[in-house]
């Protein structure tokens, strides 16, 4: 082979070539077995060189097994394996799913048009569709709550004491036996969407870890809390138009949240868990990532969203990180927070309800529903997190089956505060 091919081989291996060049080189390799053999020789020779210059590291006994266990416990692993083992679809299944998807898409569009229509004529904001669950009263909007929402200086709370969220503050169950016919379709739609988004969420988590996606903070003037204003938030809030999860489309530099595991149930199918909104976190500070596990989140009107704020561990002020994915509203779930530990380490996490129009204000200073962890552990094999603690006077135990793609080095993370008015 010639000089140019040798150079291109090295650039290809060292990822020093542009997309177009890479594609052309790949095509050349695919078309020319001799070139492919030359390329293999270069690949193996350079790898051998690297292995010589960088000698093998002695691995502690059991460390490789732990690494393999961590990988096989990752959501992407199960997802891929399920995909590989999935039996071949029959022809009718290939046709049925597109039809079902089209119907669901049509329903979505119809609902969206109704929502836009209601907004256009100045009607009452339409709340998100909920899946009726056993033991859960129908979700209604509390007019009192709405009046508070309209108050510029106050936002509604996630606290159990708030009447706004009391009806939603029920642990989701799988019993849909009492569903009305009209809502069964909606439930199916919701579940299908949930499944797709969960799979996508897993990919996004792994992708975020692989890319080490770092996102920035928008710092907020602490005095703006007292003044009932928040400087600099408008632009950021306006950028929070949701693609799939309500996550920011433009990721700022410094920190991000990513949904992981749409449904995370407390231990015992929720029977022994508190039915009020609460949350706890587990962080791997060195890895720059942590899980915030949220339980019994309320459903908010479509013109509002749940915002996640972080206060740095070295003090300072709260910074808006992003939006809790809407898929988690009215249920429990986890979000992954990634950050650059060299820039900021979260010291406290705050969840608030904010308006989407960018003129929201922070809720008042009283805090409630603050979970205190007394013990926490990560199963090295399954990577399931188990914690116990208290929520006020009420003890609770819970686990997170969302998976831990971070290695089994998590420690109890910063306190998660759900603020009320």
């Amino acid at each position: 082979m010639n000089n140019a091919f040798d150079h291109e081989s090295m650039r290809h291996l060292l990822e020093d070539a542009g997309e177009g060049t890479r594609a052309a080189f790949e095509a050349q390799l695919a078309a020319d077995p001799a070139a492919e053999a030359e390329f293999k020789a270069t690949t193996d020779a350079l790898a051998a060189f690297a292995l010589e210059v960088a000698p093998e590291v002695a691995i502690k006994p059991g460390e490789s097994a732990r690494l393999a266990a961590r990988i096989t416990a990752m959501p992407c692993f199960a997802h891929t394996r399920e995909k590989e083992n999935r039996p071949r679809r029959r022809l009718w299944a290939k046709v049925a799913w597109p039809i079902a998807a089209s119907l669901l898409l049509g329903l979505n569009l119809w609902q969206y048009s109704q929502l836009r229509l209601a907004s256009a004529i100045g009607g009452t904001p339409v709340s998100q569709m909920e899946i009726p669950r056993a033991g859960t009263s129908p979700i209604t909007e509390d007019p009192k709550s709405d009046s508070r929402l309209a108050t510029p200086a106050r936002a509604p709370a996630l606290a159990a004491s708030s009447t706004t969220v009391r009806s939603e503050a029920t642990i989701p169950t799988e019993d849909h036996g009492d569903d009305q016919p009209g809502t069964t379709k909606a439930a199916a739609q919701e579940l299908a969407k949930s499944g797709d988004e969960s799979a996508l969420a897993n990919d996004k988590v792994v992708g975020a870890l692989q890319r080490g996606r770092l996102v920035g903070l928008e710092m907020v003037d602490p005095g703006s809390y007292e003044r009932g204003e928040r400087r600099g938030l408008s632009a950021l809030l306006q950028s929070l138009e949701p693609p799939a999860f309500g996550a920011p489309t433009t990721v700022p530099d410094g920190m991000s949240i990513t949904p992981i595991g749409a449904i995370t149930m407390p231990t015992g199918s929720g029977s022994n868990g508190p039915v009020v909104p609460y949350a706890w976190s587990m962080f791997d500070v060195e890895a720059g990532a942590g899980l915030v596990n949220l339980y019994n989140l309320p459903t908010v009107p479509t013109d509002q969203h749940l915002a996640l704020w972080v206060k740095p561990s070295n003090g300072g002020i709260y910074s808006l990180v992003g939006e809790i994915p809407s898929i988690l509203q009215g249920r429990s779930g986890s979000v992954l927070i990634t950050f650059d530990p060299h820039i900021v380490v979260p010291g406290e996490v705050l969840i608030t309800i904010e308006k989407r129009d960018g003129v929201a204000s922070l809720p008042g200073p009283s805090a409630s529903q603050q979970a205190t962890l007394t013990s926490a552990s990560v199963d090295a094999t399954s990577a399931v997190i188990s914690v116990s603690g208290s929520l006020g006077q009420q003890p609770f135990s819970a686990n997170s089956s969302a998976g831990v793609p971070l290695g089994a080095t998590l420690q109890p993370g910063p306190t998660v505060v759900l603020r009320g008015p």
Partner: protein
């Protein structure tokens, strides 16, 4: 092909050599190992988790070595190594043995993943500044010379000219582009290209001579 130096008899415990003279620890390139790795990756492609565990067990230390050489931080290296094997699992179905051995595939995934991490943390700029501060081209003692027991390896790699070796190291382990290598070594880009190509051809000679 230039004559290779006389190879010292390997220690009884290390077995046959293949890649470079005296490369006792190059078991990753032994034919049996190569075949075993290919089989494991094929099984991974079919969804066999046990194959992944076996591959990790066998090659963890080697991948860790490459990553650690680049990142210089064992803790961060562990995360990258995990990423490498995750990628291997996800990409096992697309692995093409005609493009390189499994160990080579992993080595380049490790290298490129580690370099990405370095670049993200802006260490690249710091490195270049350090290198430029060095003034004249400084060819540091090769890492392998630190291991006296690997003198045979040194003889093999010593056939690389210092400038060739330096250019290869900067490209591979520091993630430098050819322009950056030229800047760091204070030589024209054309010379860098020559060093890289000749160095690579030398490596291939050494490699193929012992296949």
């Amino acid at each position: 092909m230039p004559p290779l130096p006389e190879q010292a008899a390997p220690p009884a415990s290390t077995g046959a050599l293949r890649v470079l003279p005296g490369l006792e620890r190059a078991t990753a390139f032994e034919p049996e190992a190569l075949a075993r790795h290919r089989e494991l990756v094929a099984r991974m492609g079919a969804g066999d988790a046990e194959a992944l565990r076996l591959l990790v067990t066998e090659l963890h230390g080697r991948v860790q070595g490459v990553v650690q050489r680049i990142l210089r931080d064992p803790e961060t290296a562990c995360e990258t190594v995990q990423d490498v094997f995750v990628k291997a699992w996800r990409g096992a179905g697309g692995y093409r043995p005609e493009r390189g051995e499994v160990i080579s595939w992993l080595v380049f995934m490790a290298r490129n993943g580690a370099i990405d991490r370095v670049r993200r943390r802006a260490r690249q700029r710091e490195l270049l500044e350090e290198l430029q501060d060095e003034g004249e081209v400084v060819v540091s003692p090769p890492a392998y010379l630190l291991f006296e027991q690997r003198e045979e390896v040194a003889r093999g790699l010593a056939e690389l000219a210092p400038s060739q070796r330096r250019a290869l190291e900067l490209s591979f382990f520091e993630g430098c582009t050819q322009n950056e290598v030229a800047s760091a070594m204070k030589i024209p880009v054309g010379n860098v290209k020559n060093h890289l190509r000749r160095g690579m051809l030398k490596l291939r000679e050494l490699f193929s001579a012992h296949e």
